[in-house]
């Protein structure tokens, strides 16, 4: 059974339809890369999956259980939305760390609130668990630094630790390296590769084609709000069938 299944998702802003019937599924432990030019709905897809936007149509299933159905008459309560959200983690393009808290506090804040509200249980001391995640992303020596004292790559790694600490079923990345220079990009990509090796289920929206090719189990190409092609990295990067995919990828091949 797939860990995540998205069925026929539609989303529009005013008269602009951004998602026009998106369906796909992800198996446990899979790394899925979503590629395509900017403005073709990749970010909106992640925002719909994390309930930051509400799609007009579409079903989200996690391990076979329907957690969201846009056409359902039943209104979700805030607590249910919170619970659903916690199945997923989202790492933003521009990190969105909380500037007034240290790296450690950024990780522990939500952990403490969720454990207080009885929505999540953590086995052991929250600070120690958080330290563990910061060590895992290579920032064990930076736990008491404030975000402004860290480089972009380090900030993004704190954001990854913050998302990991809540133990989500799937982690989403929205262009995690687009705000970084090439050196810092590699630093963050190395962290992502590490997570992939540990079989973390991930959906990564990215413009790093080399990385997508290397790490993904599956690649999805989006164009004008639709998935026009998906398959193994080998198939998408070496033998794209769709004309749009070929056009998009040729731009990258030229650069290499």
């Amino acid at each position: 059974m797939p860990i995540l299944e998205v069925i026929d998702m539609y989303k529009s802003f005013g008269n602009t339809s951004v998602l026009k019937g998106i369906s796909f599924s992800v198996e446990k432990g899979e790394v899925v890369s979503v590629i395509g030019s900017s403005g073709n709905g990749k970010t909106t897809l992640l925002r719909c999956l994390t309930f930051l936007e509400r799609p007009e149509r579409g079903i989200i299933k996690v391990e076979g259980e329907t957690i969201f159905d846009a056409l359902s008459q039943k209104k979700l309560t805030e607590k249910e939305i919170r619970k659903n959200r916690l199945r997923f983690g989202l790492v933003f393009q521009n990190f969105n760390l909380f500037p007034q808290y240290t790296a450690l506090e950024n990780v522990t804040l939500a952990m403490q609130l969720l454990s207080k509200d009885g929505l999540k249980k953590f086995n052991g001391n929250i600070s120690e668990i958080a330290c563990g995640y910061l060590e895992r992303v290579g920032l064990g020596d930076k736990i008491s630094y404030y975000p402004f004292q860290l480089s972009g790559g380090q900030q993004q790694r704190v954001a990854i630790a913050r998302a990991l600490a809540l133990n989500p079923d799937i982690l989403f990345f929205d262009e995690p390296t687009s705000a970084l220079d090439p050196l810092l990009t590699n630093e963050v990509l190395a962290t992502l590769k590490g997570l992939a090796r540990e079989n973390m289920t991930m959906i990564i929206v990215t413009h790093e084609m080399k990385f997508a090719k290397e790490v993904s189990d599956k690649v999805i190409f989006m164009h004008e709000g639709r998935i026009v092609e998906s398959g193994s990295p080998k198939q998408i990067f070496e033998n794209p069938e769709n004309v749009k995919t070929q056009e998009f990828l040729s731009g990258f091949i030229d650069k290499d």
């Binding site: 805030e78 933003f92 007034q100 609130l113 929505l119 999540k120 404030y146 402004f148 998302a163």
Partner: protein, 231 residues
């Protein structure tokens, strides 16, 4: 004579500080509530608050003092003439006599709540959307996001405009004199009337300067305290 003036001015200054402190005590929280009103998605509430802010910011505080002091009395007497009588109307009709200080407080609290609400609104609206979204995807409620993530950043942002407004308030208290509330300026004018002395009026500046100087130091200290992080 100098000692006598100093002591007399100090009596007036106590009232000045009282107006200042009570205005802050009420206007700071009321301003925050009003700022939520002016950012509300519920249009009637939003536009009611915005209209109030427009009227209060668009007219002089002195005029508002006079209005609050005299208008209830007019209304009371006018209602009395029409033959409407009850406890409230009687109280309104007698308004001018005992409640000068209350009138000052009402006018100041309304006026400063409006100014503060705009400062709060500016601070809250300047917060990037990503901060709310980051909190939300981490499973925090809207209230948790506001108090744990947003508020601290808003406070840091509004300390400079707030301190500016609060220092203005110190000097605005002198307007209470318009409806004959005894405060420091009034205390000084007494000497001009009875003894023909002008210098006590200028002497009041020393009190104002010391008070504002202390506040400036205090706000400088707060700004420094909040400087441990940058956005």
């Amino acid at each position: 004579m100098f000692n006598e003036v100093t002591l007399s001015l100090f009596d007036g200054f106590v009232v000045t500080v009282k107006i200042f402190a009570l205005t802050l005590l009420f206007a700071l929280p009321i301003g925050l509530i009003m700022s939520f009103g002016s950012m509300s998605k519920f249009k009637p509430l939003k536009y009611t608050v915005k209209t109030i802010v427009w009227i209060i910011r668009g007219t002089p505080l002195m005029l508002q003092l006079i209005a609050i002091f005299y208008v209830p009395g007019f209304v009371g007497k006018w209602a009395g003439k029409l033959g409407i009588e009850n406890f409230f109307i009687d109280w309104l009709a007698d308004w001018t006599v005992p409640d000068r200080f209350l009138a000052v407080m009402i006018a100041f609290v309304i006026n400063y709540s409006c100014y503060f609400s705009e400062i709060y609104r500016g601070g809250i609206e300047s917060m990037p959307r990503g901060q709310y979204e980051a909190g939300a995807v981490l499973g925090m409620t809207k209230t948790q996001v506001f108090f744990k993530v947003i508020l601290m950043q808003v406070i840091k942002k509004i300390v400079p405009p707030m301190s500016n407004e609060i220092i203005t308030l110190v000097k605005d208290t002198s307007l209470a004199r318009v409806i004959a509330v005894y405060e420091i300026i009034w205390a000084a004018q007494k000497f001009a009337k009875s003894d023909g002395l002008i210098w006590p009026i200028f002497y009041t500046a020393v009190y104002y300067l010391i008070f504002c100087g202390a506040l400036t130091l205090l706000f400088g200290y707060i700004e420094k305290k909040l400087d441990y992080y940058k956005t």
